[in-house]
């Protein structure tokens, strides 16, 4: 699971009012290089919840993202490279996503988060 996917997911248990962002607990992750697409990064930047991305990146030991970001930073190649790396090149293989409100854990195995809800959660 890439951090871009993490940035879109929230906890959908019945009654939870703020299930975003899911706290990332990473036990195993891998890096896979992909080509940087600056247009893509500029286009998606406004949709990204920055704090959630920076927090998730930190959870897997990548602390090269600033705590806050605004669109003017997209002019910097250095910023784009870091943003690209965090968003698309880090893959969580094993770990869990944890609901910020209820503490419910959604395990991640072989890169696939299990977001199935129990009967009493829907």
């Amino acid at each position: 699971m890439r951090l871009l996917t993490h940035n879109m997911l929230s906890c959908n248990i019945k009654g939870v009012s703020n299930g975003f962002p899911l706290r990332l607990e990473a036990e195993k992750w891998v890096e896979k290089e992909v080509e940087l697409n600056a247009d893509f990064l500029r286009g998606i930047f406004p949709k990204i919840e920055w704090k959630a991305l920076a927090g998730a990146a930190r959870a897997i030991g990548y602390d090269q993202l600033p705590d806050e970001a605004d669109a003017s930073m997209l002019d910097s190649d250095d910023f784009l490279r870091r943003f690209h790396h965090a968003l698309l090149e880090l893959h969580v293989e094993e770990g869990a996503l944890v609901c910020p409100e209820t503490g419910r854990r959604f395990p991640i195995n072989k890169g696939i988060p299990n977001m199935l809800l129990h009967e009493d959660e829907v």
Partner: protein, 205 residues
């Protein structure tokens, strides 16, 4: 990538080994799948450089086709973990990076408009009434650009009404009518293959 080449690669994918009747598990054949994605990309520019979600991805055919056509990020979602395992393997065999999520589409917790495009071949709702409509309404919330989907031609009017009225889609258009060979996966199918008419739709949320 040429259409024939895409079709050939999709034809080489492993498909459901033990299809589950209640989940309506049958693959979109390579002919239809390649044309669906080709149209989404070449006519509407909806795939290359985009974030694409494959709803009810099964063994990954539509998501993999999206990745082959240059999608920047692809997410496949299915409620069945066995299918996801096959889909992961299919993607790895082609050296494609695709994210998979094990989830019931009905309970998907996703920020609105977080993907550009949704591609799907939802359960037609023959086993569980209304599941195609559930898929559609959630796809229209999650997508910012367009939803490409297959639905039975017999339900055309109903789909159009639901999309425009209940899901407030801006447009709902049938791009073409196809013949879908649902192979004899299930014992209750008497004939070897049931050939049904299916519409390829494009919805704009």
């Amino acid at each position: 990538m040429k259409l024939k080449q895409l079709e050939g690669l999709l034809g080489s994918l492993q498909q459901f080994s033990n299809p589950k009747v209640e989940l309506e598990q049958y693959p979109t054949g390579p002919h239809i799948a390649s044309r669906l994605l080709y149209m989404a990309e070449n006519t509407f520019g909806g795939i290359s450089g985009k974030v694409v979600a494959d709803f009810g991805c099964g063994c990954g055919t539509l998501g993999i086709a999206s990745a082959l056509l240059g999608a920047e990020h692809v997410i496949g979602i299915d409620v069945d973990s066995q299918s996801l395992e096959i889909a992961s393997k299919n993607a790895a065999d082609l050296e494609l990076d695709i994210d998979f999520i094990w989830c019931d589409i009905k309970n998907l917790g996703w920020r609105d408009q977080s993907v550009n495009t949704v591609v799907m071949n939802p359960p037609f709702g023959t086993r569980k009434k209304g599941s195609d409509m559930e898929f559609l309404s959630i796809a229209l919330k999650v997508a910012s650009g367009a939803v490409y989907s297959l639905h039975k031609t017999t339900t055309r009017d109903h789909i159009k009404r639901t999309a425009l009225r209940d899901c407030s889609a801006k447009s709902a258009e049938v791009l073409c009518e196809l013949r879908f060979d649902v192979p004899q996966l299930y014992k209750f199918h008497k004939k070897k293959e049931v050939d049904i008419a299916v519409d390829l739709w494009r919805f704009v949320p």
